[in-house]
């Protein structure tokens, strides 16, 4: 004797036989009252179904509030228009303490730069002199001479200490103090310290991409 399968028994319990072919539904309706085995199995499935339903019911979410449909419509319209849900950020007024801190930093940086400027002049003035050719020899290996910052303290004087130059090439800070692009500054240039197109300040002046201070080429940037 053929019995009803588990799927059809559960469809019967769920009142979902209409999802099956009509002949299947009819056969279940006709067979069940005549088959004790299928009736027994149907009860087993009913118990399991009730237990599963109870597990879900006991833990069903509750106590939550839902937005109105009008609210959701407004969100949908806003999303279509490309409007963000979040309110636009407003610029905060800058507080007085914040401005004070920034000014303090600016003042500190200015003081530090000034002190460094004075200290550098003193150091360079105390350095022994070497020849201009030795100076060029140190500077030539530099790959980007035009970006270098130079001080040509010794350029107006033909005597520069070779040992001082060696030390300068090894020490990055001293390289800045020595020479990077001697080819761009000649002793004659430094000595002249001017020419056509030169701009003069109280003591220093710009000339051909070089800044000249008291007759000395201090740096050259191009």
């Amino acid at each position: 004797m053929q019995h009803i399968d588990d799927g059809l028994l559960n469809a019967y319990l769920d009142n979902a036989l209409d999802a099956y072919p009509a002949e299947d539904a009819r056969w279940v309706e006709e067979h069940l009252p005549t088959c004790d085995e299928c009736e027994r199995r149907l009860e087993e499935h009913r118990v399991v179904r009730t237990a599963a339903h109870g597990l879900f019911e006991d833990t069903a979410p509750s106590g939550f509030e839902l937005a109105s449909l009008d609210d959701l419509r407004a969100r949908a319209t806003a999303a279509e228009a490309g409007v963000e849900d979040a309110p636009p950020r407003q610029a905060r007024p800058r507080s007085a303490p914040g401005v004070f801190v920034q000014l303090s930093w600016a003042a500190s940086i200015i003081v530090a730069l000034g002190a460094g400027w004075v200290a550098r002049d003193l150091r360079v003035a105390a350095r022994p002199a070497g020849t201009f050719d030795q100076l060029r020899q140190v500077a030539t290996p530099q790959e980007e001479p035009q970006r270098s910052l130079i001080v040509a303290e010794g350029l107006s004087s033909p005597e520069v200490s070779a040992s001082a130059l060696g030390k300068a090439s090894a020490d990055a800070a001293d390289v800045v103090d020595a020479v990077a692009d001697v080819g761009a500054v000649t002793p004659a240039d430094a000595g002249r310290g001017g020419g056509a197109g030169a701009r003069e300040g109280p003591r220093g002046r710009f000339c051909g991409g070089r800044f000249l201070w008291g007759g000395r080429a201090l740096w050259c940037v191009s």
Partner: protein, 170 residues
């Protein structure tokens, strides 16, 4: 795109089911509610022809995306769950604890099922009929009864086994 759908009626009849469905996936009432509303907002924009099936399909996809980031947010979710419980009944901690234990037991039992069985079971719990479950999952309508029979049996058995283990530990 459909124009003759009664969205008010659909909203009233479907959104609670959608929250219920999503709650079994993200296990956080507030998050489930937010996701359900987000899905509905999308439906209002897309206006699908079969909105109920569409809503649950998109909800399932969003829940899957949530699951991918669940590890990162696990701690946060735990906190949210605690907050949600507080909001529901702040004066009844015993009831909250009992409910939390039931939710945890159901979650563990559900996790023993295959993803397909879970999906069919959750859609049935959310009030879908066999045709809707078939439309949402891609299964044939004739396979839904068989899948449900198997999934219910496994769920109840897994839950009973966990209850037995918990009772033995007490």
């Amino acid at each position: 795109m459909s124009t003759d759908i009664d969205w008010d009626a659909l909203y009233r009849s479907t959104l609670p089911d959608l929250v219920r469905f999503l709650h079994r996936k993200v296990w956080d009432v507030e998050r489930a509610r937010d996701l359900a509303q987000e899905v509905f907002v999308r439906a209002l924009r897309e206006r699908p022809d079969q909105p109920r099936a569409w809503l649950f399909t998109v909800a399932g996809n969003l829940a899957r995306d949530e699951a991918r980031t669940a590890i990162r947010r696990r701690k946060h979710l735990t906190l949210l769950t605690a907050e949600a419980s507080d909001r529901v009944s702040p004066n009844d901690p015993d009831r909250d604890l009992e409910r939390a234990e039931k939710v945890a037991a159901l979650r563990r039992a559900l996790e023993t099922l295959s993803e397909s069985d879970q999906e069919v079971l959750l859609l049935w719990d959310a009030g879908h009929d066999y045709t809707e479950i078939a439309a949402t999952t891609g299964l044939s309508p004739g396979a839904i009864g068989t899948t449900l029979a198997r999934a219910r049996k496994r769920l109840v058995r897994a839950h009973e086994e966990m209850e037995g283990k918990d009772a033995a530990h007490r």
